[in-house]
Every structure is written in structure tokens, then in C-alpha cells.
Symmetry: C2
Subunit: 334 residues, 2 copies
DNA sequence: CTTTAGAAGGTAAACCTTTACCATAAAATT
DNA sequence: AATTTTATGGTAAAGGTTTACCTTCTAAAG
């Protein structure tokens, strides 16, 4: 790969001049000279080396995204939003999956630091622990966290509590008393917040929280399926609220396999509103999160932080109850 | 961020010694010295700067992934496989979405080249065009392509033709004669290959291909829904084969909304076997691709290529017909 | 006692950029 | 005519590594 010296030689100028042409510097370059340089660049297929540039400028135009699992559509959608904005601003994205594992989180942070990433978008798993915080080092000032709000970072907050509360209240209003909750893994703060909302709604309606109706899943359809079967068959739940849509889809299947009608015998509510929810049968009542918009907001916030534009340190996304056939008859779609 | 000089000073040694300790060099370092250095590193929270290292070594431990759209579960699953292997080998991944747009493909390739990526995994969209090829430059030797085989690169090939042919034959065997095909965008070579398989099966069975039964979708559930409605209602298709599962899910919804029974009135077959397919109603008959394994194979191949281990330049994944309720009654799941 | 080998450490070049600082000449100002 | 600007170009330092090559010293070998 040709370098700036090759170009300078071919064009018969100094490397400074080449650099000026390449970067459209304010330092003037004679038009004729510029054309010579451009010709040389083209002929040699020269591209400035971003490593050298990054090393010198202390700016790499690279951001890291640390998430639990890209194969989860919720994160995939967010990442898409992030990317599209990154693209606009000329940033590249390093994607890292953690499965919410603390060692991996730390390892990935360190990795991004070595690579001189300009910033990090973090979502899922815990970031506010001593070890993680210290791994962050100087990057601590350039982090955007998605989905938490009780954390000392700029944040894209999602109203998980409110959403879960709406979902649960909806089920209560439909007359359900035995409402099961299928949560996520223990280290999913999102699932915990949603659990909060579930409890809030029950408590406010004057019911108590029955621990036997609460189980942890792992956010996959199969875990939703297995746990839903148990909750419905053994615990006699008449309604199930799940921490995400995938598990709700598993729960629907479980109810059907038990020979029950939805929503007449069992009502089911998911969370996230991933694209297929309106196409399954019955269409899934769920809580909508504008995931793509969340991604966009996160990357925009990060870009602002990096370029030291003063930006708000908190962006709040509210959630929306979308009622479909899995809780109410007659509502076939939306 | 502390650098190697700071460490050397604090430990009272030369930078060469620090480097030797950090990289566990074969050049011996006295144990006592080593400990002094390690202590200094810890105290200063030193991390070697990957940019400087990459610049010097011409190796960045970074690979690019160029795909159409991460929010498509098919790619998300593949990317997860890629990542897991990348992780094992200490590689970082730069993810780039193209929407199959040629300009974006080229832009992303150039971007990766400037960043001195060690290699590229490419999937979706066209890579074998003059412009793209020339953008690749020296990276041309370090590309793995997923999902194509008629291309002059190391390749993870997927038997799309065979799979589509199995799917179509399955429908033919069930007695269907008016089998619609919902394809992908025109620049999706995968969708084209699947179309080939569809034609092959029809031809081999002695039927002719009816152009009016073939439409392009955009791989989303809603496009599947819309086109399926048209094919079923206007073109009187009794079976529909789609280029991916998402569109098949849309097609199922369409059939139901038309008041038709599946599979009695309309049979539907998808492609990919994404996780939810077995949970929808009826469970979707589809062609299984081991997406995660494909990702793994791709990254392993790339690692081999980069480290100049001689590796096969072609890995072939066959596809599997999974028969579920959307084509055969009695088969509720699998 | 002399020579040789090995252990341990250091020096400096190379990787590729950007840009502050200089230098020169021509044009504009006084 | 003398002085200041402006246009244009070059030189060299800095950014943080790795490693070939050197140096010094001690221990083994002859």
C-alpha cells in the first residue's frame, strides 16, 4: 500500500503538501500542484493510513458497542440505529458481545481502550461496578449507557418500570389475578426494572406479589415456553407477562400446546415490540420501545460528547402499550 | 494514558525491557526486573497502544464484517458466530451495514482499508464487480465471502439452490401446482439462487415456471404479507415459498387474514430456520441453515488466511428441509 | 589463564501522519 | 523605494511501539 512519501515523490512535492491536499487544509496549495498530487494519489491508489493519523491526532473515529448479544433482535435493532448515525458522522463501530458476563465486559473495555476507541456505547449487564469502572480509565468520560438511568453516565433511559406497570395494569383491568412474570437472567437490570413495574402495578391495585408466579428465563423463546408451561399448568396462572417478546412467543406456544385458548384462557403480554409480534397468532400485546430511535439517540449523544458539544446527559424514551389479540379478543392486529 | 516511556522511567529500565515483559518476549528478562516492570505497569494502569503497535507490525487484529443489515436475524446469527471466534483469537470486529447498496459497499471497504483491517468477511450484495474489486486493493487476498460460490474468493458456500429445490419439491409432492415464490430484492444473490432451486424443482417435475407467481419482496414480514395476499387472492396460489422466514411469517398472517386454513388451503415454506419459526402457529416448514456455524466457519477461515496457514478455500454447508405444520397436518412441531 | 557463550539490558530505526515553524518570492501598501 | 502581506512550499518533530543490533558482565569451557 502506497504511503504519503510515495505520493510526494511521484508528484514531486513534499509530504506536507500532499497532506494538505488530502485533508483540504486551509493552508493554500496552488491549483496546478493540487492536481499533480491528486493524479499521483489516484495512480498509486493511495489511502491515508488511519492508524498513523489516529496515533498522532488521538482521534480514531471508532466507537465501541458493548451489548449482551447481537442475535437478540432488541439489540440488533438498536445497533442498526447506532450504525446508521455512526455512518453519517464517519465513525466506525466495533461490536462486542458479552452475554452479560463481567469478565468479558472488562476484557472488551480494555480492548477498546488499547485500540484508542473514541467512545463506548454500553447496554445490558452491569457497568457501575468498581472493577468495570476502573477498567474504563480515561474512557470513563466518553460512555453512553442505554437502558439504565441510575448510573453516573450520560444515558438513554427507557421507561421500563412504567411500561411494565402499564402491561400489568392492563392484565389486571382485564380481570386477571394470577399474573405470572417471566423475568430475564439475574444480571439483566432491564428485566429487573420491568419486574419493578410489575410489582408496582400489583401493589397499586391492592394485590400482593406471589413469588411462586415469578421465574427467571433466559430471554429465548424456548425458555419462555418451558416456564410458561409450568406457570400455567402448575401455578394456575391465567395471564403471563414476560420480560421480552421472544419469551412471550414461547409462552403463546406453550398455552396452545396445553390446549388453551388465547386470550380467553390465558392472556399474554410481551415487551419490546419486535417486528414479528404483529404477525404471530394471536398478535402479541406488548410494550413498544422505539429501539431504532434509541440507537440513533445513543450515537448522537456519543458524537456530541466526543466532540465536546454540550449535550444533555439524559434522554428519556417512554414506552407504549400496544394491545393486540393475545390479551383482547376482537383486536386482531394494530 | 500512560505510555511505555512512563513505565520504563518508573521501573528504571529501558523501553525495550518493558516491551519484552509486556509481550513475553523470548529475549530473557531477569525475574526481579520483570517484577519491577509489572509493578510499574499496574501502578500506571498502562496498556500498550494498539495503534502504534498496528502501525509498526502491520497487523491490527481487526476484521471487518460487511453485511446488508444486522437487524435481519439471519445476519445477526451469523455475526454472533463470527464474533465468538474472533473473540477466541483476540480479534475485534468492525461491523458495517450496506443495505446491498454498491456505494456503501465501496465506502465501507475503503474505510476498512484505511483502518488497516487484517481481513474482511463479506456477505450479501455484490462483491465481484470491477469497482468493488479495485476498492479492495491489497485486501483482496484477505476476504472471505459467505453465501456465494461462483466468486473468486475463499468462500463459505450455502446450498441455497439445493435447499430451495427441496422446499419446492416438498410442495409439489404434496400435490401443489400453483406454487408462488416471494423473492428478495434484485441485488440479493441469495434470493436469486433460491429462485434457481425453485425453478429446478418445478422443471424436474415437469411443470413450467409461471412468471405471474413470482414477486420480489424486501425480506420483511410486511412485504411477505402484502405479496402473499396478492399471490393467494389474485393469482390463486395454493402454496407459497419465500426467500426467507420473515416473509413466510408475513405470508402465514396473510393466509389467515384471508380466512384460509394452513396447510389445508395454503401451504407455506420459508428459508433459514430462524429461532422463532418453531414457535409460531402453525410452526413453519423451512430450510435449515446452520447460521451460527456458518459464522464460525467464516471467521475460522479468515483467521487461517490471515495467519497464512493454508486452509481450504471453500467450505460447503448443505441445507435441510424441516417439515412443520405450515405444510403438513399432524406435524405440530419438531 | 584465555576464550566463548549466555544472560540481561540498552539504543535507535522504522511504521505513517499532521502541523507548527521557516523560507522564498511576488504582490500590495505606505 | 522600502516595507508588509500573501501565496506557496518545505523541514522536522511528535505520536507509541517492536526489535535488530550492540554492549557488558558472569560463568563455563578449553
Amino acid at each position: 500500500m502506497a504511503n504519503i512519501i510515495d505520493v510526494a515523490q511521484k508528484a514531486g512535492v513534499s509530504i506536507a503538501t500532499v497532506s494538505r491536499v488530502v485533508n483540504n487544509s486551509r493552508h493554500k496549495v496552488n491549483q496546478a500542484t493540487k492536481e499533480k498530487v491528486l493524479a499521483a494519489i489516484k495512480e498509486l491508489d493511495y489511502r491515508p493510513n488511519a492508524l498513523a493519523k489516529g496515533l498522532l491526532m488521538k482521534k480514531t473515529m471508532t466507537a465501541g458497542i458493548i451489548i449482551p448479544d447481537i442475535s437478540n433482535p432488541y439489540y440488533a435493532e438498536i445497533v442498526r440505529g447506532i450504525q446508521d448515525i455512526a455512518d453519517v458522522h464517519g465513525y466506525g463501530i466495533m461490536l462486542l458481545n458479552t452475554d452479560r458476563n463481567k469478565e468479558r465486559i472488562i476484557k472488551h473495555i480494555l480492548f477498546l481502550r488499547e485500540k484508542s476507541a473514541d467512545g463506548i456505547i454500553f447496554s445490558g449487564g452491569t457497568i457501575d461496578e468498581e472493577e468495570v469502572l476502573s477498567a474504563l480509565g480515561e474512557l470513563k468520560e466518553r460512555v453512553v449507557v442505554i437502558g439504565r438511568h441510575n448510573v453516573d453516565f450520560p444515558v438513554i433511559a427507557i421507561d421500563n418500570v412504567g411500561g411494565a406497570s402499564k402491561a400489568t395494569k392492563h392484565l389486571i383491568d382485564l380481570g386477571h389475578r394470577r399474573i405470572g412474570y417471566i423475568s430475564g437472567p439475574n444480571n439483566s437490570t432491564t428485566a429487573k426494572e420491568r419486574f419493578e413495574g410489575y410489582k408496582t402495578a400489583l401493589t397499586q391495585a391492592g394485590y400482593r406479589v406471589d413469588r411462586t408466579l415469578i421465574k427467571n428465563g433466559d430471554l429465548t423463546p424456548s425458555s419462555g415456553y418451558l416456564i410458561a408451561k409450568e406457570l400455567i399448568y402448575e401455578k394456575k396462572a391465567t395471564a403471563i407477562f414476560t420480560a421480552n417478546d421472544q419469551m412471550a412467543i414461547g409462552a403463546i406456544r406453550a398455552a396452545k400446546d396445553l390446549g388453551l385458548r388465547i386470550p380467553e384462557d390465558v392472556a399474554i403480554v410481551g415487551f419490546d415490540n419486535i417486528p414479528i409480534t404483529s404477525f404471530i397468532d394471536p398478535p402479541l400485546t406488548t410494550i413498544e420501545i422505539p429501539m431504532y430511535q434509541v440507537g440513533i439517540a445513543a450515537m448522537e449523544m456519543l458524537v456530541n460528547i466526543i466532540s465536546e458539544k454540550n449535550s444533555e446527559r439524559m434522554r428519556w424514551f417512554s414506552t407504549n402499550l400496544i394491545i393486540r389479540g393475545s390479551t383482547e379478543n376482537g383486536k386482531k392486529n394494530s
